[in-house]
Structures are given as structure tokens and as C-alpha cells.
């Protein structure tokens, strides 16, 4: 059942409200309502119908767009009410027929992207004061409940039949794939034995018991549901308005990126992704800020607002984000990505200083948060990244994060072509990894003395100094560069791609876990394993046979 082919037609991750097929967004001052009304005929691929507000990647791409635009285009919104626009259901979760018909890689990337979107919802609450509440006005199953779990509060209609449920284990022989189990016990602090019962009861739990078990925050009868949600969101909006600076916020518009497409190449304004399918190799190049970009920031927040989506820091990282998503989903054969940040090191440093100066402004805060999310997307991509610090590169500040995110950083140490790397204020906390620590700290996890020697000082470093400071993986001179990097790449390309995905994911996140990193780690370690086990996706597996006349047969041996 390896169909549909993963990149029959490339998936486009860019969309805008005029193209939404599955979501309706309405605004009323500080409160926005986001109604899910999935078009059954609107699947990204053929062969399944998106009934009962079930979703596929296309539905989630729109959701991610809504969440992002809410922060940039509607900063006045404090509360987003997430509800269903259909009469008889809130959300039935990921479409099972789509999952059953998908390749393993498609399922994995789908789950990863949906997880990132759920985390973005929580990120908006934490860093933008935009709080999502779920108004569950009908049955809410699997991924539907996981979507609700990403919201701060969940209210369930009490009509004797609407329930919340995670039926994946009992019905499908797989796990909830968007953090449901982790959020149950970590975020909502549902007692783990109750979570065990809940997660094995296909029909779920409704009414007062759902409140008692902390699965939801409240239940209201159908006739009073809308009114109760309106009351709660108004109260919440008022509370949040008090906590946030009263400055008037006017959103900026996020225009399309419109990359230039040609065979083996996507060229954006600041980013370029090129690839060679046969060589299984891609090159990702990002151009750093210019003196003009720095000068613009020097003119203050108003000027930055006026630049809007053309601001380098926003535009370049939106392009990076889009390129990474394209790579993940549309270029499954590419195993190694060579990353280069080119430009002027001094300008890159000055840029980050100027950006940091304006951090108190809501828009600049959003820009920096967005940079952090794009970088986390890199951390979470199952591709080998080698950063190449050769002539013309400037891995400084936010761009140095790309070198730190890479599995290895090769740097050229050549007097004739001096390369500088550098740390800016953005390297010390503004761009955290999924598990909440800076890449610098994760990188030097075993060398705390190096970390303290660096302090929090912004500085430009020669490759030699950077190597001394533990920031370079392999320092090469001009004679060795070509040959050594070629050999490293060829060697890497010869290794098992599965083993590499696992190894890289293990090594990239030294240090303690948090809820977000647990979600992604558990997804990779457990769900993706279960997905390929015969008990789920074999000829007699539960996921394969869901909706079919035969019943699953399990191999009862525990592994």
C-alpha cells in the first residue's frame, strides 16, 4: 500500500485566506473565532474524503497559516476560539483512510508538521499573549482532541453524546500522533492511570466525568454553549488586555514569497535551495542582511513596521521555513543538505544588535519568535545538515544558529580567504531549541567551562578562535578543504538513512527534555516504530484493516 506517491505533485506550504477551503476565521475586536469546516472533497490527494472534519496535510497547512497570520496580521486578537463550523462534529482527527493509504515517510512528515502547528498554538499563547480556547461543540476524537489539547482551555458541549476521545490504540493499533498522550499527563496533569483508561476507551469520556478527570475545563448544555463560550472568551480577553502593554497594535500583511522555480532549484530573495536527486544532495544558501537592512532597523520600530514582511529578518526566515518544508515533504530522496550563510559578518552582527534593541516592540518580538520557530524546524528535520563555512560565508548571530543546528560545521581557515563567525545577542536565549535551551548551551553541554568563557558577549571570531572555543567541528585549511569535505559528504551519503535519522535526532538535543521535546521524541521513537510494525500496517494490521471487512490479527509477542 505504498501509494499515493509522496511527490506526485509537490506540496505547496504557502497559502492565504483567499484560498482557504477548510477554515473560516472571523474577527470581533480582541476575539477571533476559528471555525473548522473541512471540505470533504478538498483533500490534498485523491482517494479519500475528508468527512466529519477529519484532516490531512492540506487542512493543517491552512491551520498553520491561520495561526501565523493571527500573530502578524491580527496582533489585536487576544483570544482565539477554536470551534467546529459543522453541526454534528467538532473534529474526527487525522483522516484514517489517508493515513492507511500513505507511505511511511508521508505519515511521519504529516505528523511532524501537525505537531509543529500544535506547538505554534502554544507558542502564540506563551510569547504573543494570544490564547486559544477550544469550544468543542460535538464529538472530538483523536487528532481532534489533540488539537483541543494544544489550546489553553477546553470546553465541551454537554449533550449526552459529545465526548472527547483518543481512540487510536483500541481502534487503529497506533498512538495519538500529535502529542495527545504527553499533553494529557504533562500539560493537563490527568492522572496517569486515568489517562490509561481514557486512551483505551474508543468512545471516550463526556460530561461531568470529563471535567472530573481534567480532560476538559468545563461542560455546558447545548442551548447555553455559545453564550458560555462568549462569556469566557470576553473575560479572558479582558484579563489578557490588562497584562499586555496597551500600545495600539496594527498588524502587518504577510505577502506571498513567490520563489522562482526551475529544475532542481527554488530561488527566493534571500534563500536558495538547489538539489540533485541523483546525488541525493541539496544546497541551502541564505544571504545575510545588508547595510541597508541594518540602517532600516536603526530608524526604529515605525520604520520596521513600514517595511513589514519585507524586513530581512522576517522575509529571510519565512523563506528558510518554506525551503525546509519543501525539502522535507517534496524531496524525500535528498539525504544531505549543505548549508551556507553568506554575507558580511559585521553587518550580520550589527543587524542582530539593532533587532535586539527593538525587542520591546510587538512586531519585532514576533519576528524574533518566528526566526526561532524556523530554526526549530531545522533541528527537527530528518536530514543530515553540514554547515560549510568557506569563503564568503558569515555564520554570525542568528545565522550562526544554522551552523549550531547542523550536525557538523566545517570551517575554512585560510589567510587568503578569511572567514569570520560570530555570536550576537540573539545566540543567548532568544532562539531556543525545542527543549528550551540555546543551541550554544546544547552544543557545549559537556564543556561548561567553554560556555562560561564565552559569557554572553557578542563578538566576531576568526575560525581559529572559534575552533578554540569549541564552536567548529572540523577546521580545514585551503589545501584540504575540497577533498575533506567531499569525502565527508560521500561517506555520509553511504550510511543507512534510517540509522542517520535516528542518530541525528538523538545527538541534536543534549540536556534535559521538556514537554515539547518529549512530544517530538516520543513521536519519532514510538509512533514511527508502531507505524511500520505489522500489527499496525501489515496485511492484517489494525490500521490497514480499519474500515475493511476483515478484523486485524496481532502478533501477540511483546517486543
Amino acid at each position: 500500500m505504498e501509494s499515493p506517491p509522496t511527490h506526485a505533485t509537490p506540496v505547496d506550504f504557502e497559502t492565504d485566506p483567499s484560498r482557504y477551503r477548510h477554515w473560516r476565521v472571523s474577527y470581533d475586536g480582541p476575539i477571533a473565532t476559528l471555525a473548522m469546516a473541512v471540505d470533504p472533497e478538498g483533500g490534498l490527494r485523491s482517494g479519500y474524503e475528508l468527512k466529519l472534519n477529519s484532516y490531512d496535510l492540506g487542512v493543517d497547512i491552512e491551520l498553520a497559516d491561520v495561526v501565523r497570520r493571527m500573530r502578524f496580521e491580527h496582533p489585536e486578537v487576544r483570544v482565539v476560539v477554536l470551534t467546529s463550523g459543522l453541526d454534528n462534529v467538532f473534529c474526527a482527527g487525522a483522516n484514517i483512510h489517508m493515513l492507511a493509504a500513505s507511505t511511511h515517510a508521508w505519515k511521519v512528515n504529516f505528523c511532524k508538521f501537525t505537531n509543529e502547528t500544535r506547538c505554534e498554538i502554544e507558542d502564540a499563547e506563551a510569547y504573543s499573549g494570544q490564547v486559544y480556547i477550544a469550544a468543542v461543540n460535538g464529538p472530538c476524537a483523536g487528532g481532534g482532541y489533540e488539537l483541543a489539547l494544544a489550546c489553553r482551555e477546553i470546553y465541551l458541549q454537554d449533550d449526552g453524546s459529545s465526548a472527547v476521545s483518543l481512540p487510536e490504540v483500541p481502534l487503529l493499533g497506533v498512538l495519538p500522533g500529535t502529542g495527545g498522550l504527553t499533553r494529557l499527563v504533562d500539560k493537563r496533569k490527568v492522572r496517569r492511570d486515568r489517562a490509561d483508561i481514557f486512551s483505551t476507551t474508543a468512545e471516550g469520556i463526556r460530561g461531568k466525568k470529563a471535567v472530573e478527570w481534567r480532560l476538559v475545563d468545563g461542560v455546558y448544555p447545548r442551548s447555553r454553549f455559545r453564550e458560555a463560550i462568549a462569556g469566557r472568551s470576553a473575560a479572558l480577553a479582558a484579563e489578557l488586555a490588562r497584562a499586555l502593554p496597551a500600545a495600539e497594535r496594527r498588524g502587518i500583511h504577510l505577502g506571498p514569497l513567490l520563489p522562482e522555480l526551475s529544475a532542481g532549484r527554488r530561488r527566493y530573495r534571500h534563500v536558495e535551495l538547489s538539489w540533485d536527486d541523483n546525488a541525493r544532495l541539496a544546497r541551502l544558501t541564505i544571504h545575510g542582511p545588508t547595510a541597508e537592512d541594518v540602517a532600516l532597523l536603526g530608524r526604529g520600530a515605525e520604520a520596521a513596521h513600514a517595511a513589514g514582511d519585507q524586513l530581512w529578518a522576517l522575509r529571510a526566515f519565512r523563506e528558510l521555513d518554506d525551503a525546509i518544508l519543501h525539502l522535507r515533504v517534496n524531496l524525500p530522496g535528498v539525504g544531505v543538505v549543505l548549508v551556507r550563510a553568506v554575507g558580511d559578518a559585521a553587518q550580520a552582527l550589527a543587524h542582530d544588535h539593532a533587532l535586539t534593541e527593538l525587542r520591546g516592540d510587538w512586531f519585532i518580538n514576533e519576528v524574533i519568535r518566528h526566526m526561532a520557530r524556523a530554526l526549530r524546524r531545522v533541528d527537527l528535520s530528518s536530514r543530515t545538515f553540514f554547515a560549510l563555512g568557506d569563503a564568503g560565508t558569515a555564520f554570525v548571530g542568528a545565522l550562526f544558529e544554522l551552523a549550531l543546528a547542523a550536525d557538523r560545521f566545517y570551517a575554512l581557515d585560510d589567510e587568503d580567504a578569511p572567514v569570520q563567525v560570530g555570536l550576537s545577542p540573539l545566540n543567548f536565549g532568544a532562539l531556543p531549541m525545542t527543549h528550551g535551551v540555546t543551541r550554544l548551551r546544547a552544543h557545549l553541554h559537556g564543556e561548561p567551562e567553554q560556555l562560561s568563557r564565552l559569557g554572553e558577549a557578542a563578538q566576531l571570531l576568526s575560525v581559529g578562535d572559534a575552533d578554540e572555543a569549541g564552536l567548529v567541528t572540523v577546521r580545514l585549511d585551503g589545501i584540504d578543504w575540497d577533498d575533506d569535505t567531499r569525502v565527508a559528504i560521500e561517506e555520509r551519503l553511504s550510511l543507512s538513512p534510517d540509522a542517520l535519522s535516528g542518530m541525528e535526532a538523538n545527538l541534536r538535543f543534549p540536556g534535559a527534555e521538556n514537554e515539547d521535546s518529549k512530544i517530538f521524541a516520543r513521536l519519532s521513537a514510538w509512533q514511527n516504530w508502531i507505524f511500520i510494525r505489522p500489527n499496525a500496517t501489515g496485511a492484517h494490521g489494525a490500521l490497514t484493516l480499519y474500515g475493511k471487512p476483515e478484523r486485524p490479527h496481532f502478533d501477540w509477542n511483546r517486543v
Binding site: 449533550d159 449526552g160 476507551t201 474508543a202 468512545e203 447555553r224 475493511k548 471487512p549 478484523r551
Partner: protein, 474 residues
């Protein structure tokens, strides 16, 4: 094992040995006052103190299981009866067909079984609620008695299902049993589970159509459950079927008597205008059939259903008269049905197990067609040129693959605008109620019948038609 002996003198008459199961007895005795309170609130309360000539189940033997006498409804002996078994039961369908049936709930199927039982159970009190005021406009004492007979037996069917919930489903089962008394037909906040059981049943035309079409769904659901591998459910529903037959009789003959009377009035009126004679015109009868038949079709569930496949595969629910079919696995077979694809109807083969709801719906529709033929014979014998018909199964659906499209009664796809224009010609309209309520005045004199309905051919249990079936003036 359970005895066949009926303990009629117990507080809860039964043949399930309640006296020997003190825990269950205590649980049910605790539920009993809540049930009576519900009956008092939501049953035909205004006639509570009137003796009604009711049939009470007193045995589970085929001959002489019922006893008739005048009783007040709250004194009716609601009881718990399972059909006896001569030999060990087997699972009748699915992957385990032929293996011994379960006398306890298998853990694997517990939730599915509970859901099946709760859904069935929920319909029983719902119909009592829908019909609670109809006694006030009864066309005769005979009909009023039939209404109350149906009501008390729906109450008994609730008992049968609640017994299963209490005995086999632990605390969850007890919670569900309580919830059955908390939901209310048509209540926006606590509706009954299935759509047809939230539709208003304001007059006797709807009542007869309901007992004809909606209770007939009940018959087929019970028949499918009587094939269940869960033996207590199979035996319980088998016995319920013996009572259900009367409900269907009430509906089928009730509509037949209206049709017969309307044909007489049609002949009587110089212009053939039934309404002019205070009767129920055939157009309204046809629209009533269209409305209730299609709402009842919804109750069978989706045409292509993974639940249906699961229930069959696991032996929880069989086909109509599964035991008489030659083959019980239904694998590697398909069922052909029309589906909407690209704006038109095309035939598609689906795996037979996934089409089990449709298979059951087929049996039901065949049965309804038989009744239609009978009514048309009545029209023929009365010399009326009118003929009635069943609409297509695709028409006016709210569940399943046809629900998102519009069809005319012939089953052809029509546009939304055509539907908006014509549906009033096909279905009940609000003003129908005004007319029906204007002609439905109560007739409480023994042997007399309202103008809009013909008397029955015979009375009940050998009693004459003019027997005082309900004693309103004791």
C-alpha cells in the same frame, strides 16, 4: 443457568433468578423509583389512574405468555424476561461463527456491546415521551388502549435493556442506565440519541406512521441483535420481538383504517374531496409516509460502515434471520449500491460486511413494501383510484452517503433550488398539524370512532370492538 420460571410476585417480575442475585436485585430496586418517577413525569400521566385493558407478559412460553386484564398503568408489572434456550447457543455470524456464544461480556467487545445496548435502550423511553399527550385526542377507547399498551411495553423494553446494563456492565452500565432517564426526546440540551426519536409526534397520523415505520426499524434492530453472540442480549431481544409485533400491528392497521375511511369519504364527497368531509386526504397521507419512512431509514446507520462490519465480524450483530442463511462469514463478497460520484449516481461494489446496515435496510424496505401493497388493496377494494407508494431510500436522508445530496421521492438527484421549491409537496408542512389537530377531537364513548378513521375489524383478545378498553369513568 437461568431458569425459565417466572417470578411474577416479585417486586420486579422476572425469569432471570433475581432473588438469587442480591447485589443485582439491590441495584435494580434502586433504579426502580427513578424509573417510576420518569414514567410519572414523562409518560401518559393524565391517564395514570384509569384502568386500561392491558396485556402483561406472565411467561416466556410460546403459548399463553400474556395475560389480559384492566390495570392502572403505574401498576403494570414491568419485568425482565429472557427467551428460554433448549440447547447451548452458538455465535451465529462473523469470524467466530459456530463457536459457543458468550454468557458473559467478553472484555474485547465490552464497549461496543454497551454502545449497541444503550442505543437500543434509548429509543424505548424516547417513544413514550414523544407520545405522552396523544391520549387526549384519541379517536376511540380501542386506539387509546393500543397507545397505552405500546407505551407500557416500551417501558418494559427499557427494563430489559437496563437489566443487561446493570448485570453485565458494572458501574459504567449503572451510569448509562441512569442517563437513559435523564435524556429527553426533542430536548435541545439532552436529546435522545437517534434523530427520529427527537421528532415531534403531535397527532395520531404521526403516531400510526411512527409505529408503522419507526417501530419497524426497532423490529429489525432487535431481530439483528437476537442473532448476537452475546447470549443474554440475544435472548432478551428475542422476547422483546414478541411484544414488538403488536406495535407494528397498531401502526400498520391504524394507517390502513385511515386509508379505508379516507376512501369512503372520497366516495361520499361530490368532488371527491376528503378534507371537505373532515377526513385525512391522500396527499397528506403520502407526505406522512414520505416523512416517517425516510427518518426511519436513517436509523439503520451508514450504507458503508466500519462499525457495521465490526459488529458483524465480531458476532455482536447478525443479519435478519441470520440463522436461516446458508453462510455466516460474509467475507469475499460484495454488495452493489448506487453512490454519488461527480454529480451523478454510479453503482459501486463495497465489501458485504461493510454494507450490513444496508442489508438490514433491504429487509426492512421489503417489509414496508408489503404493507404498501396491503394498503393499496384496501384502496382498490374501496373503489378508490388513488395509490400510495414508498419514496426512494435516497430521498430526505440525514444519515449516510445520501445525506449530503438532494433527491426527489423517485430517487433522482435534484438541485438544491429544486429541492427548496418542491420539498413542501413531498414532506409534512407546519400547517398540516393545524388541520390534523382541528379534526382530532377525542372520542371516549365505547364502540365509537372519530370521523377520520374506520373501526377495526375486530376487538382485542376476543373482546368486541365496543368493549370499554379504557375505563375513564370508574
Amino acid at each position: 443457568m437461568l431458569s425459565n420460571n417466572v417470578d411474577l410476585n416479585a417486586k420486579i417480575p422476572n425469569n432471570v433468578g433475581l432473588a438469587d442475585d442480591p447485589k443485582l436485585l439491590r441495584a435494580l430496586e434502586k433504579w426502580l423509583p427513578s424509573y417510576l418517577e420518569w414514567w410519572h413525569d414523562m409518560g401518559p400521566t393524565d391517564f395514570e389512574d384509569k384502568p386500561v385493558y392491558l396485556r402483561t407478559a406472565v411467561s416466556v412460553e410460546n403459548d399463553g405468555w400474556a395475560h389480559y386484564e384492566h390495570v392502572r398503568m403505574p401498576d403494570y408489572r414491568w419485568g425482565i424476561f429472557l427467551n428460554p434456550r433448549e440447547q447451548a447457543s452458538t455465535i451465529r455470524c462473523g469470524d467466530d461463527a459456530g463457536k459457543p456464544a458468550w454468557s458473559e461480556v467478553p472484555g474485547e467487545h465490552r464497549n461496543a456491546l454497551r454502545r449497541i445496548i444503550v442505543t437500543q435502550a434509548d429509543t424505548e423511553p424516547a417513544s413514550v415521551e414523544q407520545q405522552r399527550l396523544l391520549g387526549h385526542i384519541a379517536p376511540s377507547l380501542y386506539d387509546m388502549r393500543n397507545l397505552f399498551q405500546v407505551n407500557v411495553e416500551e417501558g418494559r423494553h427499557l427494563w430489559a435493556m437496563v437489566y443487561l446494563l446493570h448485570k453485565y456492565f458494572g458501574r459504567d452500565g449503572r451510569d448509562e442506565a441512569d442517563a437513559l432517564l435523564e435524556r429527553r426526546s426533542g430536548d435541545p440540551d439532552k436529546p435522545r440519541i437517534l434523530g427520529a426519536f427527537n421528532q415531534p409526534c403531535d397527532h395520531w397520523l404521526s403516531f400510526f406512521a411512527f409505529t408503522m415505520f419507526t417501530d419497524r426499524d426497532g423490529k429489525y434492530q432487535l431481530a439483528a441483535l437476537s442473532q448476537s453472540g452475546f447470549d443474554p442480549l440475544a435472548r432478551s431481544t428475542e422476547f422483546m420481538l414478541t411484544e414488538e409485533a403488536h406495535h407494528l400491528f397498531v401502526g400498520e392497521t391504524g394507517l390502513d383504517r385511515i386509508i379505508k375511511r379516507s376512501a369512503e369519504l372520497q366516495r361520499l364527497d361530490p368532488n371527491g374531496d376528503v378534507r371537505n368531509q373532515g377526513g385525512i386526504d391522500f396527499d397528506l397521507i403520502q407526505r406522512t409516509i414520505n416523512y416517517w419512512f425516510t427518518y426511519s431509514l436513517d436509523l439503520f446507520g451508514g450504507e458503508i460502515s466500519s462499525n457495521a462490519a465490526d459488529f458483524f465480524a465480531t458476532g455482536l450483530k447478525g443479519r435478519y434471520r441470520e440463522d436461516r442463511l446458508p453462510e455466516h462469514r460474509a467475507l469475499d463478497q460484495s454488495y452493489r449500491l448506487p453512490v454519488v460520484d461527480g454529480g451523478r449516481l454510479v453503482e459501486r461494489d463495497v465489501p458485504l460486511r461493510n454494507a450490513m446496515n444496508e442489508v438490514l435496510r433491504d429487509s426492512y424496505i421489503t417489509d414496508c413494501e408489503r404493507a404498501l401493497r396491503k394498503w393499496n388493496r384496501t384502496l382498490e377494494e374501496a373503489g378508490s383510484p388513488t395509490r400510495l407508494s414508498l419514496p426512494s431510500r435516497r430521498f430526505h436522508r440525514h444519515q449516510g452517503i445520501y445525506a449530503d445530496h438532494r433527491f426527489n421521492p423517485e430517487g433522482e438527484l435534484v438541485s438544491q433550488s429544486a429541492w427548496d421549491r418542491d420539498h413542501g409537496r413531498w414532506l409534512l408542512r407546519p400547517e398540516d398539524n393545524d388541520y390534523l389537530l382541528s379534526i382530532m377531537k377525542p372520542v371516549y364513548e365505547p364502540g365509537k370512532f372519530a370521523n377520520w378513521i374506520a373501526p377495526p375489524n375486530k376487538g382485542i383478545e376476543g373482546q368486541p370492538v365496543e368493549f370499554e378498553y379504557v375505563k375513564l369513568h370508574d
